[in-house]
């Protein structure tokens, strides 16, 4: 797919999300969709991180741990230290990334199912840590978080105070979508830069990469830190949206979903995680009416999809976006 077409599609997606969707929601009065879509945008951001770890050939089933770290970082900075919420977003990302470097250095040596198993455990470790640490307020969680304040540049108010809005949900929706767009533009650039090619090289053959002078251990940690950064910022915004964060705000089930979002959308496509998150989330909600059969139908459909479309939903799109040899 041509570069121009990709940019046009991305712009179209931005237009639909930022203008068409709000107009439709306002017209139809289905305000609850703001919340659903906000959640999808945030989950897609966290999934993008998992997708990056996939791109170096590691199966990451621990993203919820970093979302939890991000959520708590933001909540603690806002309540205990009185930081403005906006500053806590990058900080939450950095704290998550920092922790992931410490954890990643030893465990990124592991491959395949071994790495996956360790990451799977990490979500549970994060939950237990949130329960045990004094600063996180244990099982009661951190509640009644203040809404984000205004962003002003001198006399000019760029973002109004969320607390003064009659309904902050549209504002949270716009915030999450803008973040989603920034993150995916950033990941797209990453994949198409030399760094992305090095990640692919790592995924294909680490020994060969190191024989060409690539510091494979360092590069793996960079990829994992970027991944965890995205988990952290998603968690931070989530804590503001729900005005709370609990040890169970993100669970192992979420970690698994982040991974499934990537699989479902397609590991070969930058925008796979967005598509996967949309389909998985809406699919689950749509099946709500089937009551006790919900999980059965849902799982069966997932299995079928993976059998029929092993390269993800986006492989239906005849040409791979990064189809080789037309640079």
């Amino acid at each position: 797919m041509r570069l121009g077409l990709q940019i046009a599609l991305f712009a179209l997606f931005a237009l639909v999300m930022l203008i068409v969707v709000p107009v439709v929601i306002e017209a139809s009065g289905r305000g609850e969709y703001y919340y659903t879509l906000t959640l999808i945008a945030l989950l897609a951001i966290a999934s993008a991180g998992v997708w990056i770890t996939f791109s170096i050939g590691r199966i990451n089933i621990g993203q919820a741990a970093y979302a939890l770290v991000g959520g708590y970082t933001s909540a603690i900075l806002v309540t205990t230290y009185g930081w403005p919420f906006w500053w806590t977003i990058p900080m939450a990302g950095l704290v998550s990334a920092g922790i992931s470097v410490l954890i990643g250095l030893p465990i990124l040596r592991l491959r395949g199912v071994y790495f996956a198993m360790v990451t799977l455990v990490s979500t549970e470790v994060a939950r237990l840590a949130a329960l045990a640490l004094p600063i996180t307020n244990g099982a009661k969680g951190m509640v009644n978080l203040p809404l984000p304040g205004p962003i002003a540049l001198g006399p000019l108010t760029i973002v109004p105070d969320f607390a003064e809005m009659a309904n902050p949900r549209p504002a949270f929706y716009i915030l999450s979508v803008v973040l989603l767009l920034i993150v995916f533009a950033g990941v797209w650039r990453l994949v198409h830069s030399r760094l992305g090619k090095l990640f692919t090289a790592l995924q294909q053959n680490e020994e060969l990469a190191s024989s060409t002078g690539v510091n494979i251990a360092g590069l793996r940690v960079i990829a994992y830190a970027i991944s965890s950064f995205l988990g952290g910022i998603a968690g931070a915004v989530f804590s503001a949206v729900s005005q709370s964060v609990y040890p169970s705000s993100f669970t192992t089930q979420d970690s698994i979903n982040f991974m499934l979002n990537c699989f479902l959308g397609g590991l070969g496509y930058v925008f796979g995680p967005i598509v996967g998150t949309f389909v998985l989330r809406f699919g689950w909600d749509l099946l709500f009416q089937t009551a006790k059969y919900q999980l059965l139908i849902y799982s069966s459909v997932l299995i079928l999809l993976m059998l029929i479309l092993p390269n993800g939903l986006l492989s239906l799109w005849a040409v791979r976006p990064e189809k080789r040899g037309q640079r």
């Binding site: 090619k197 190191s210 024989s211 060409t212 037309q326």
Partner: protein, 260 residues
């Protein structure tokens, strides 16, 4: 000061009770083609991995241009200019032929990784230099026509050439070729022999591990013979062919195996 560009000094590697490489020493001269030969299981591949630092020696050391390189991380050894290729088709299968070679230019980049992400002037200069150099390397190895192909779909002979191209992209001082002629027919081997000579003529010192005796005798300036982990002979092809210990080591193998 020892002779040559690289010295292997009393190199020993044990795996449990097995001594795969036992007190092996030799020097690699600048811009020569040195072959390491020996019967199967003699320890050639282990020796190779030790020199490229993919394995740590149990004792002994490898010195490159006056600096000990054994025990360092492989990418640091590659950075100094000692680069290995691999047996079989070891390439980045999911990238195109051209991308394989461009990616392998890592050691030549002057821009920081973040610079490549942001597209700084230095990074763009690097990118175009890599593309130009990759074109040249592909041309040299006769792979230009295949530049846009998915590397995983190449036939065997081209894969071997691409492996060498990846090695050349790192701008090595010493290139270690692991069985570059394995699985090739006579014509392919003769072509590959010319390529390896061409590599040497670019100023690269070449060391190779190989089974194909006629090719080894044809291409090598000097040969080191390993048996049961120990060096049993070292010399020019003519000297090696006359060496009784070598002939003994290959006893049971047809005479022509060592080119007699």
């Amino acid at each position: 000061m020892a002779d040559g560009i690289l010295q292997v000094q009393n190199l020993t590697r044990r795996f449990g009770g097995l001594i795969a490489v036992n007190d092996v020493s030799f020097n690699l001269m600048e811009q020569e083609i040195l072959s390491v030969i020996g019967p199967n299981g003699a320890g050639k591949s282990t020796l190779f991995k030790l020199i490229a630092s993919f394995l740590r020696p149990t004792s002994g050391r490898v010195v490159f241009q006056g600096e000990v390189i054994s025990g360092r991380a492989p990418h640091l050894v590659a950075r100094r200019g000692v680069v290995r290729t691999f047996q079989e088709a070891t390439i980045f299968k999911g990238l195109t032929v051209l991308e394989n070679v461009i990616v392998a230019h890592h050691l030549r980049s002057r821009a920081h990784l973040l610079g490549f992400y942001l597209g700084t002037r230095q990074a763009r200069a690097d990118e175009s230099a890599f593309a130009k150099s990759a074109d040249e390397i592909l041309g040299f190895l006769g792979l230009s026509a295949l530049a846009g192909e998915q590397a995983g779909s190449l036939p065997q002979g081209h894969l071997r050439a691409l492996g060498i191209a990846i090695g050349l992209a790192t701008n090595p001082k010493v290139l270690l070729l692991d069985e570059p002629f394995a699985g090739m027919n006579h014509d392919e081997t003769m072509h590959a022999v010319d390529l390896v000579r061409g590599v040497r003529d670019r100023g690269v010192t070449v060391m190779l591990v190989e089974h194909d005796m006629p090719a080894v005798m044809k291409i090598s300036d000097r040969i080191v013979v390993i048996n049961f982990g120990q060096k049993i002979a070292e010399g020019t092809p003519a000297e090696i062919q006359r060496d009784e210990r070598v002939i003994e080591a290959y006893l049971g193998v047809e005479d022509e195996a060592i080119g007699l």
